[in-house]
């Protein structure tokens, strides 16, 4: 067993990883930026090393300083957490090159999965269909019309060169196509100096579901159930639940088979997730997250398995202590992300608690929450025997949640969890966008 692990992250996820280390008897070394001097992960770690100024690119993204800290503090391994350098294959390579163990899949695997086009192609070659699409010749509207007809409306035009919504247009009818083609191409050219467009089937208000696995490089893959991340607002995951309220057994089996095939083929190490969009009973592969995810705690709450501990064991001991399907009991788990909506200093903080409730947070009274980093300040996770019990418990937990001095989305979360739409379980990734936007009017 390793003796000492450096946690290359901050916030609640750093706290989570430090706890996993201590549960395993491993010494935890924290790193922090000057802005995080008083952060909870710094307090809970056995040692903490300052790695740079507030700006993330000079601290939490400063791989050199992080690796130096790990080497000099006699660490055996580096856990990248979520975000920052977690899916940076070059950082992973440097970590292993420095004689440290990397808590994640091999750098080449990260690299492959990080290229969304390659990943999609690999999945397709393994019989896992992605969202249908086609590269198109903007200059040849007739050919584009033919491609669009083949995919079926609505379709979406995307700039091949970039993202962020630039050069992106939803086309709902053939009549609109020619016009929007010009608009999108111009926008793409302006934004990326490249007017090449890509045509994709537009999935209307899909369900967003992911399968959690843990694997070893020898091809062993254990399924740890699904998480439904359909409740989103402005494309941000807000609520996660397991099992999904809108999944056929057929969908589930298809996604699980895909997970077993893909991760087995990759020789993947540790925790991973494969994400799908589901529309009209069809599952479309979206991407693989080659790391721990924020919402891993939903799976922990239902299964009682310490995912982070298991991840560390898988990546350092090449060992799995879970057997797979037997691990997923009946029941239901639900998570709400509490995000700060502006900086502030925590004046009073009494998080919910008691039976069936877990709160992962780095907040405490007196902490100043600055605007440098992620807005996530707490995750409230509940377990219930069924979905209704879970929802009732979450309502209770959110109503207990007392936080003064820091503006958050708590009221938004209460509105979602209390809504009949959520209770019915029949919604897509954009449902709450329209409901909540309408409510505001």
């Amino acid at each position: 067993m390793i003796k000492s692990l450096l946690v290359a992250n901050r916030g609640e996820i750093a706290v989570r990883i430090i706890r996993a280390c201590h549960d395993l008897g491993i010494r935890a070394v924290a790193v922090y930026s000057e802005a995080d001097r008083h952060a909870l992960h710094v307090r809970l770690a056995d040692r903490a090393i300052c790695i740079g100024p507030a700006a993330a690119r000079e601290s939490y993204l400063n791989g050199g300083n992080i690796i130096s800290a790990a080497v000099h503090a006699d660490c055996d391994a580096v856990h990248p957490g979520v975000g920052f350098l977690a899916e940076n294959s070059e950082f992973a390579r440097l970590v292993t090159a420095s004689g440290l163990e990397w808590i994640g899949p091999a750098p080449e695997v990260i690299n492959l999965l990080g290229d969304k086009v390659k990943a999609k192609k690999m999945a397709r070659d393994l019989g896992i269909p992605g969202i249908p699409g086609a590269e198109i010749e903007t200059e040849d509207p007739a050919a584009v019309r033919e491609s669009a007809a083949r995919l079926g409306y609505p379709v979406i035009l995307k700039a091949a060169a970039g993202g962020g919504g630039k050069g992106m247009r939803i086309v709902r009818k053939e009549e609109e196509l020619e016009n929007l083609l010009v608009v999108a191409a111009n926008e793409a050219r302006a934004a990326f100096s490249d007017g090449v467009l890509y045509l994709e089937k537009y999935l209307e208000d899909p369900r967003h579901v992911e399968i959690q696995i843990i694997a070893l490089p020898d091809g062993s893959v254990r399924l740890l159930g699904e998480r439904d991340c359909t409740v989103q607002f402005n494309h941000q995951k807000l609520v996660e639940e397991t099992p999904s309220p809108g999944l056929t057994e057929e969908n589930r089996r298809a996604m699980e088979d895909a997970a077993l095939t893909l991760f087995g083929k990759l020789g993947y190490a540790g925790l991973g997730t494969i994400e799908f969009l589901i529309v009209n009973g069809n599952c479309y592969f979206m991407e693989v997250n080659a790391r721990l995810q924020v919402e891993h705690s939903v799976t922990e709450m239902l299964t009682g398995i310490d995912l982070v501990g298991q991840q560390i064991l898988a990546c350092t001991e090449n060992r799995l202590e879970v057997t797979g399907e037997a691990e997923i009991p009946n029941g239901y788990a639900l998570e709400c992300r509490i995000n700060a909506t502006a900086p502030g200093t925590v004046r009073q903080f009494i998080p919910p608690g008691g039976f069936g409730v877990r709160v992962d947070t780095h907040l405490y009274e007196g902490l100043e929450v600055l605007s440098y980093y992620d807005a996530l300040v707490a995750k409230v996770i509940v377990v219930g025997r069924d979905r209704m019990e879970g929802i009732r418990r979450m309502r209770r937990a959110l109503s207990e949640f007392l936080l003064d001095g820091l503006p958050t989305n708590l009221e938004l979360q209460k509105a979602i969890i209390s809504s009949t739409v959520f209770a019915h379980g029949d919604f897509g990734t954009t449902t709450f966008d329209s409901i909540l936007t309408e409510e505001k009017r």
Partner: protein, 143 residues
């Protein structure tokens, strides 16, 4: 105002963001208050992270400058074990001259003086780990 009315008012007030309400009506007077957060309140239990966003170099009480480590690594006062230290206490050094090296990722990073100055004190131990911001030298800037 009867009990039901009062109770309704209480419930409403409780949910509202008001901090105080007074209602007087013929022979009735109702005062409700909530303990709010004070603007300009006393500092919290923990010192906030307020000192951090300054770009200015830290100064000692005597008004001397402190040169801090710009990276994480091992601090060396000399280029090699058998070489003389780059600087000693009391020495004057010129802008651009190497004052120490910090070894990080197996690379020796030479740290140069950013101004002409006199070395007043050496604050870090040779061959020790320095973090970002660890004080290395106390110096007096030459005018």
């Amino acid at each position: 105002m009867d009990k039901t009315e009062l109770y309704e008012l209480l419930e409403w007030f409780d949910k509202s963001t008001l901090s105080e309400i007074v209602v007087e009506k013929s022979d009735t007077k109702v005062v409700m208050k909530k303990g709010g957060v004070l603007p300009g309140d006393a500092p919290p239990h923990l010192p906030p992270a307020e000192t951090l966003i300054s770009d200015e170099a830290p100064k000692t009480k005597e008004g001397n400058e402190v040169i801090t480590a710009p990276m994480v690594g091992t601090f060396y006062r000399a280029a090699a074990a058998d070489a003389p230290p780059f600087v000693e206490t009391g020495m004057k050094t010129k802008k651009g001259e190497t004052i120490c090296v910090i070894e990080a990722m197996k690379v020796m990073n030479e740290l140069e003086a950013e101004f002409d100055c006199e070395i007043i004190k050496i604050l870090a131990q040779n061959a020790s780990l320095v973090e970002y911001g660890t004080p290395l030298f106390e110096v007096r800037i030459d005018d």
